[in-house]
Structures are given as structure tokens and as C-alpha cells.
Point group: C2
Chain length 263, copies 2
């Protein structure tokens, strides 16, 4: 497409990524893609969509945002969709009592914009239309995004929720004085894959030491154990260092030889 020299340039940015977890209706996927591209966001990821993908209904509703849908990454596990992500925000209508920062869409937009400027690869998660994200999925997020809705009618359409964030994000492109929430770290930030590896390593070793007891408290204990590391927003170097710490603490434990965990 040729443009006159004085036309403003189109905007297509891959970060922050928008991650739709178990989206139900193809129409909503298409509407999200359209709303994203309206405000210059082009990085869409789908986790376990209900219907076949590519979904013709999504393309029909996208009204021309086909390239966002064509490039959308399809994954069957949230872990895989977030493997290269370094900062996770989760949109939820219901406030949940978790030790995480809670932002409105405007605050979230400014924070994630600052993250991108500092070299992070942030993502915003939306859950399925009816049920929203599960607690387990929200627990892995670094921050929670909620919308300041009418208490008398809070249920917001998925595409509208994406549109509000994308609009707010577009506005931050004009801001030049974003606070340095994300200092450009000497070492790059840990990806979700780095963190998954760290937590898996730690939990395996703790399991071996019968740390998770009683069994019905295991999920809660895992969550509480992860929370401070998530809040710390580790660098890649720190995640590696911590795995070295675990190794050092466990070597030769119980006189039983064990394989090294995958690096």
C-alpha cells in the first residue's frame, strides 16, 4: 500500500501481546483482532480455543484485521503461550485476594508501555467469555487488570475489554515521561519458561523432601511459594542463580544420586 508522504504511518506492534485463554466464540476472536489493530497492537495468541482454528467467523468479524489473525500464535497450553513472555498481566472482573498489584486499564497501559520501553515482553491475558480466567491462571500473573465497571452490570464483552486496553495503550504512545517502573536491567528479564523451569526444579526438590503436606494444601502452598519470586520480577541471571542455589542445597541429599534437572 503506497501512502502520501504526509500520511501518518500505520502502527503494528507485537508487544504487549494479547493472550486469549480458551476463547469460545470465533466472532469474539475476530473482534479482538480488529480492536487491537485499531490501536496498533498486532501480537495475538490463542490458548486452546473452543472451535477449530483458523475460524472463518473470526475473519468475517475482523473487518480486515486478517493479518493479526493470520499471525496469531495458537497454543494448547498457557505455559507454551507465555514461554517467551517476561511480564504477565491478567484481566479479571472479580477482584481476587492475591498479593499482586491491581491496575485499571489506563494504569495497565502505562505500566506495560514502560515495560516495552525497557525491553520487556509483556502480555495481557483474557479468560473465556463466560467464566473468565481460573485462579491458577491468575496466580501466575505479575499484576491484575480490572475495569471500573458499573456495580449493577459488570459483565463486559471480551472485545470491548480488549478495545479499552488497546485504546488506553495507544494513548500512552504520546507520553514521553513514563516513570521508569522497569529499569533496563543489566541482565534481561526472566522469561516465563525460565520461571517455569525454576519453579518446577524447586518443587521437585521440595516434593522429594516431603515439603508439600498435607496433600490438599499442595496447590495453595505452591502458590504461596511462587508469589514472592513473581513479585521480585527476576532477571534471567537471577533465575539461573537460584537454580544453582537449589542444586547446591540438594546435592547428595539423602545419599541418593539424582539426575541434574534440565538446564
Amino acid at each position: 500500500m503506497t501512502r502520501a508522504p504526509d500520511m501518518p504511518a500505520p502502527i503494528e506492534e507485537d508487544w504487549p501481546a494479547i493472550v486469549l485463554v480458551r476463547p469460545q466464540m470465533g466472532e469474539n476472536i475476530g473482534a479482538v483482532a480488529r480492536a487491537m489493530l485499531n490501536f496498533g497492537l498486532a501480537g495475538l495468541r490463542l490458548v486452546e480455543p473452543r472451535d477449530v482454528w483458523p475460524n472463518p467467523k473470526a475473519f468475517a468479524v475482523a473487518s480486515g484485521a486478517d493479518r493479526v489473525l493470520e499471525r496469531a500464535r495458537l497454543e494448547w497450553r498457557l505455559d507454551d503461550a507465555l514461554a517467551d513472555v517476561t511480564f504477565v498481566a491478567a484481566a479479571t472482573a472479580r477482584p481476587r485476594r492475591m498479593e499482586k498489584p491491581v491496575w485499571g486499564p489506563r494504569e495497565a497501559a502505562r505500566r506495560l508501555r514502560a515495560a516495552v520501553a525497557a525491553g520487556e515482553r509483556p502480555a495481557l491475558l483474557f479468560g473465556p467469555e463466560a467464566a473468565g480466567l481460573e485462579n491458577e491462571e491468575i496466580a501466575r500473573a505479575d499484576a491484575i487488570v480490572t475495569y471500573p465497571v458499573n456495580p449493577g452490570f459488570p459483565s463486559i464483552n471480551l472485545a470491548n475489554a480488549a478495545a479499552l486496553f488497546a485504546f488506553a495503550y495507544g494513548e500512552t504512545r504520546q507520553e514521553t515521561d513514563l516513570p521508569a517502573w522497569f529499569a533496563a536491567a543489566p541482565s534481561p528479564p526472566a522469561s516465563q519458561a525460565d520461571l517455569d523451569g525454576l519453579f518446577q526444579h524447586l518443587e521437585e526438590e521440595l516434593d522429594r523432601g516431603r515439603f508439600f503436606h498435607p496433600p490438599d494444601k499442595t496447590a495453595l502452598m505452591r502458590h504461596n511459594l511462587r508469589a514472592p519470586f513473581l513479585r521480585a520480577h527476576l532477571t534471567k541471571q537471577e533465575a539461573q542463580t537460584l537454580r544453582g542455589v537449589i542444586k547446591a542445597l540438594t546435592i547428595g541429599r539423602g545419599g541418593r544420586k539424582r539426575e541434574d534437572p534440565p538446564a
Copy 2:
């Protein structure tokens, strides 16, 4: 519905009204109603919808915002839909060269909120999905609302556009320091019906004086003539006074008796 005493109260405000002009798809009408009520707006008006009304598709998509649809005012002429409105904003994607203020959704929200606080009855007009509002419809507005979209993909979904405004409007409810753009006037503001009467009266008399010449320039001349009166945002008293002025100027003109225009 009973609420616990510490629950925040639901919000349902009739002003600003959202006016959908010739909406095509019932689904979009329902999606607009849902987005409005998400942020506490309940005054919906429909002008000449394409399909039968009430439209079951609208109710299906509204996800419970039925009372907004049930109370929606249906009109066949824009004039009738705006008769009691005192301030008209028109949403349009394409900037048009008109002598009107142009606001983004946030600015529009703050302005219309200030208008409501001063006793005005403002409305925001959205055109049909594909074509948008016609020039003639935009010409009658006091202000234009545009969205800061990606130049590479500017076409925004109707419900998303309504949602962005409603969201921005909801945010203004927290603001207590809105500038007094609309001073509470000693006389209430002129309604659109008052203005229609004034313009009709004036144009009839001008027509009698062969003011509108040549005929192919009539529409433009009417538009240019109305513009300063619209910008002045007349009070009801001023609109009446101006009609008295027209009468005084035309009485006995041409030796031809004429009926008084309707008051």
C-alpha cells in the same frame, strides 16, 4: 435485587443519551446497550434502524442489558430523536472541515459530563456501521468526536466506539474539578426543537426574500448560516428572542400578510 449495605450502588444515567442513527445490525445495537450499561449509561435512542424493532438479536447480544433496550426510544427522524436534546456531539472517523470543536473520547466525556452537571441534556450520535453519519447530520452537531485510531486500520466497531466513550465517561464520575464549560445559565439551554423552529422560521423568511440563490448552493448556505448559532449554544430565551427579531424584521414585508410561525 437486594444488595448488602456495603455494596456500591448500580449506576443508570439517562444523560448523555447515545443516539444510533440508521443502525444496521441488531447485534450491534445490543452490544452498544451492554457497553453503555457497563459504565452506567442507560439512555439509548434509535433512529430508523434497518431491521424490525424490538430486535431479538439485540437482546441476545445485550447479555442482560435488556432494560436499556426496552427503554430505548425509537424514532424515524433524527429531528425527533433530538427534540429535547440541548447539546449534540457527533462521532465520526473522518475529520471533516467544519467550524466545530473536535474532541477525543476522553475530552468528549469530560465536556459532556460538565454539560450534564450544568443541567444540559447532551447526546452523542453514532452513524451506521459502514458509512458513518452523513455530512448533513454532522453539520447540526455542536462538536465532533473522533477516536485516535491507527492510521493503518482506522475502522472501529460501533460497540467498541460506544464502549470507549462510556468507559471514558465513567471515569469522569470520579472527577470533581471539571471546568465550568457549561455555566449554569439563568435561562435553560435551547433544545434542538427550539433551534429547529428558529432555523425553519429564519429560512422561510429568507426564502421569501430570495436569499438562497443559486439553488445548488442552498444546502451550503443553510449550513453556513446555522453554524454561528450552533456555536453560540443559545439559551431557550435567546432562541425565542431571535424569533422575535425575525418577526420584527419581516412584519409587513412586501405588503403581503402572512401567518405567524408556530411559537
